[in-house]
Structures are given as structure tokens and as C-alpha cells.
């Protein structure tokens, strides 16, 4: 038994009929002090991150890092290649032709910004995630079609799963279940 409790954790899952009900319930559960909750919906949820009390996204800083990396890399490469390593006289233009380097600098900045946003978002969201205990529930599949779900981890609270279930039901959940699976 003791070996099992170390590797397994439980989540209470609750399905709500509408996005508004989900956001409302999430906010109330957070105000009761539950932590580590997450919401699941088939499309972006208005007010979801505010209800979860998530901190401001760190993606913009990753994007800025990508942009600056792109600018510095492009300028350094072009200066090294065209001015230092292999200077060529092209139509009498100076070998250090800053205006001509702007397009490549711009493009590389945009490319690395996009990479930064894409991979930064994946990384911060810990994706791709082939397994998560909530997948143990068969009904949870509706989260990708028409269901609005809230997950409450039991590991971070002393409240019993049955009490959490009751609280969620009183907040308007249409379906409540407990899933148990390997820890993330």
C-alpha cells in the first residue's frame, strides 16, 4: 500500500454544461483555496485564466529573447561574411552595408520570435503530453468536443475527494468523477 501511494495520485473531475458555469465554478473553487486546478474546453475559454488565477504569461519574454537572438545572429553573420571573411566589391557598395542587411536581420528576428513563441508555449504548457491521469476517465473525452471540465488535484489538499465532489456538484457540475493514475 505504501509503495502504491507514492506513485499514484487522484484528481476530481467535474463536467459543466456551459463555459460560464465552468469559469464561475473555477473561481469559487479557487476562492475556497484549492490549488493546481486546471480547466479543459474544446475552444479557448473567456476568463478561464483569470478564474484560475494564473500569473501573466512568460511567453512574451521568450519571444523577445528569440527576436534579440535573431537580430544579433543575423548582424554578426553578415558582418563576418561580407565585411571580414570574404569582402567583395559589389557595384561599388561598401563592404559594411548595413541597409542591405536589414531584410535578413528582420526575417531571422521574425523566424526566431515565432520559434520562441511556438516552442516556448509548448514547453511552458509541458506539451506534448502523451499521458495524464485525467485520460483514465472515459467521459473526459467530451472535453475535446462539447464538454467543459475542471480538474482538482487531491494531492495538494487535505479535503477528502468525496467532499470535493459534493462541493463541485453544488456548484452546478453535471458529472463528477475521481480518476487515479500515475503522477505526472
Amino acid at each position: 500500500m505504501s509503495a502504491e501511494t507514492k506513485v499514484l495520485d487522484s484528481w476530481v473531475l467535474a463536467e459543466f454544461a456551459t463555459p460560464d458555469a465552468l469559469v464561475d465554478a473555477t473561481r469559487q473553487m479557487r476562492e475556497k483555496g484549492y490549488q493546481g486546478m486546471d480547466t479543459y474546453s474544446p475552444y479557448p475559454l473567456h476568463g478561464g485564466s483569470e478564474a484560475l488565477g494564473l500569473p501573466p504569461s512568460r511567453v512574451p519574454f521568450i519571444a523577445l529573447g528569440g527576436a534579440l537572438t535573431g537580430i544579433v545572429t543575423a548582424l554578426a553573420f553578415q558582418t563576418y561574411m561580407n565585411t571580414i571573411d570574404y569582402p567583395l566589391n559589389i557595384g561599388g557598395r561598401p563592404t559594411f552595408s548595413l541597409p542591405a542587411w536589414v531584410p535578413i536581420t528582420f526575417e531571422l528576428a521574425v523566424l526566431l520570435t515565432a520559434f520562441g513563441i511556438f516552442f516556448g508555449l509548448l514547453g511552458l504548457s509541458r506539451l506534448p503530453q502523451p499521458y495524464h491521469p485525467v485520460f483514465e476517465s472515459e467521459e473526459f473525452r467530451s472535453a475535446s468536443t462539447h464538454g467543459y471540465w475542471l480538474s482538482v488535484p487531491t494531492a495538494e489538499t487535505t479535503v477528502k475527494p468525496d467532499d470535493i465532489k459534493n462541493q463541485l456538484t453544488s456548484l452546478g457540475a453535471t458529472h463528477v468523477t475521481v480518476v487515479t493514475g500515475e503522477k505526472e
Binding site: P60, P99, V102
Partner: protein, 404 residues
Amino acid sequence: MIAVDRFNGGSKTMTLAGAVGIVGLVLTAVGFFTAPQPTMFSYLFGFTYWLGISVAAIIMVAIFHTAKAKWITILRRTMETMGSSVFVFALLVIPLLLGAKYIFPWVNHGTDWVFPGTDGVKFTEVELHHLHHKSPYLNLPFLYVRQAIYFAVWIFVSWRLRTWSMEQDTTGALELTVKQRRFSPGSLPFLALTITFAGFDWLMTLTPLWQSTIFGVYYFAGSFLAAFCVLTIATVNAQGKDEYGTLVTTAHYHNLGKLLLAFTAFWAYIAFSQFLLIWVANIPEEAGWFKLRIEGAWKPLSISLFVMGFAVPFFTLLSRNLKLKPRLLAVVAVYLLIMHAVDLYWLIWPAYSPQGPSFHWTLITSFIGVGGLAVAAAMWQARGRYTLPVKDPYISESLRYVQP
């Protein structure tokens, strides 16, 4: 029942702006009789600055209708009002046309033109020959005809959209929205061509042997940004009785901030596109315009225009928190309006003063003269009307707008 009533304030602003405008124009007229040439260049500066904002506001309304935008509905009346002041410029363009020979070297095929800032340098034989080839376009009668076309298009589009919009305030008829939505996309090609050729006529032909096809877009890009700045400032300050500013939410300001950021970048993109192609090609007939500006006495201003007009506002506006604070956003908008003035000065003044940046007092008088009249006209148009389209079918959606 709607709580907002028709707007009847602003008479002080209107009187003050009108008085400043008349005093400014009278002083400019005095300047004309003492020093005609710099005064005409100054007048062109003031005229193109304020007219660009007015026309850009008309284009803005047409674009938002074309995109079937709903969030902007609460701000639309202000844009319509800004555009409605365009009729003033139909009168203000007359002095410009009468004094054309002082600013446009191509008048009379360039034979009379003496380059300012030189000891009587005139066009060479070859240059006169080139100018003669351009005379089917560059002649005074055709210039007058073109001005008439521009103003006919601008006044008609502005009047048409605004009249339907105001009619809806009383009737609430839904088909008026359909009419506006249908009319706008059709008007856009005309608006695009008129502002492009207006930019050519007023600014590019100051250097008649130079041409750049992107020039009209450059003038439009700067004006469009300036129009968003005016819209932001007007919205932040519209907090009085019956004014729409109190109904505007953070989400609207966030969008205005994003548009300011986007069009700061757009202006810089167009400016650089124009510069890079000419710089790389390095063809004598094209390069001269930029040679004057990036070498010698105009170089510091050109570099500071890039830094202060693009780099500083761009990185400032990247901040999300700033865009959510209306007062700070208004400060940035005022800054960008100043930069737009520097931009137009940079476009116009080297033609008058190739030896380097200089100042003439009529720059100030014509700027506040034209601006005062334009603001007074807009206030006059705003009074007695609602400051937002109260019965627009999308007004409640606009009021409830949140960031997607």
C-alpha cells in the same frame, strides 16, 4: 432608454481653436507678403499634416465597415467627425494652388525655377527636357482638376457614411448599417488612389525629377498613424457630459494601443522599403532625393527620425501594461503626433533648404492656423449630435467588448 444625450459642450474648445486658426492664418498671410517662398513651404507642411489626418479618418471608417468590425462602433462617430472636417481643406487648398509657383519647380515646365539656397542655379537643358516629358501630368490646369477630384471623393464618402450613421441615431433603421457596409468597400479603391496621388502632387513633385511609386503609401502610413493618435487622445479626453469616453473600456484602449504599435511598424516598414530599394539600386535619378537627406547636414535628422520615430515608440508600445493605461497611451499618441510633424518637415523642408535644417516662424503659424480651423470644424460638426452611434445594432456588442 439611453442615458447619453446629444453633445452640446465643447463650445469653448471650438471658439478657441477657431480663433487660434484665424490668427495663425492671418500671421501666415503676413509671412507670405514678407517672404513668400518659405511661407508657402510652411503652409504646405501645415496643410498636408492636418489634411492627412482627416482623410485617414475617412479611410479608417471605410476599412472598419469593410471588415464588418463591431468593437470599434463606440469610437466610430469620432472618426466620422474627424473625417467630416475635410470640407475646410477644400478651401484651404486654394492658397496652395495660387502659390504653386513658389513651391513646385515644375510650374511653367521648370523654366522659371531657381533652386532655393543656391546662387541662382536653374534646371539644366537635359533636366528641362525631362520635365517637358512630364508636362502632360505636371501642369497647373490638370493639377486643379485633380484637386477637385480628390476633394469631391473625400467630401462625398465622408458625407455619405456620416449622414447614414447619424440618420440611424434617430430612426434606428437597420438597413442603414447595410448601406454603410456595402458602400465602404466600393469607396476604398477611390480613397486609396486619391490619397496616393495627393501625396504625389503635394509632396513628391517638390522634387519633380524624382519618383517613387511607394511615396503615396508613405504619406498615407504616416497620416493613418497620426489619425489613430488623434482618435486615442480624443477618446481619453471625452470624459464630460454626454461624451462617449466614459463608456470606453480597457479592451478598447488595448486595441487602440495595438493599432498604434502596428502602424508605427507599418510606417517604418514603408519608409525602409522605399529607402532600401533606392539605396541598393543607386541610380542617379532616384538617389538624389535620399543623398540630400542621408549625407551632409540633413543626416542627423534622418537618423533621429528613424530612432525617435520608430525605435523608441515601437519598443515603448510593445509593453502590454502601457496599452492598458489610457493616460500613458495618450502621452505616447502626443509624442507620435510630434514625430509625424518631424516626418513631414523631413519630407518637405529639404526642398526649400538643401543646405541643412532651418526654421521659419511661419512653420508654427501655418501649423496652428490650419490645425485650429480643422479642430474648430470638427467640433462644430460634433456639436448637437450624439458622440457615439446610439442606435447602431452593434453598439451594445461594442460596449461589452472583451479581448478575444
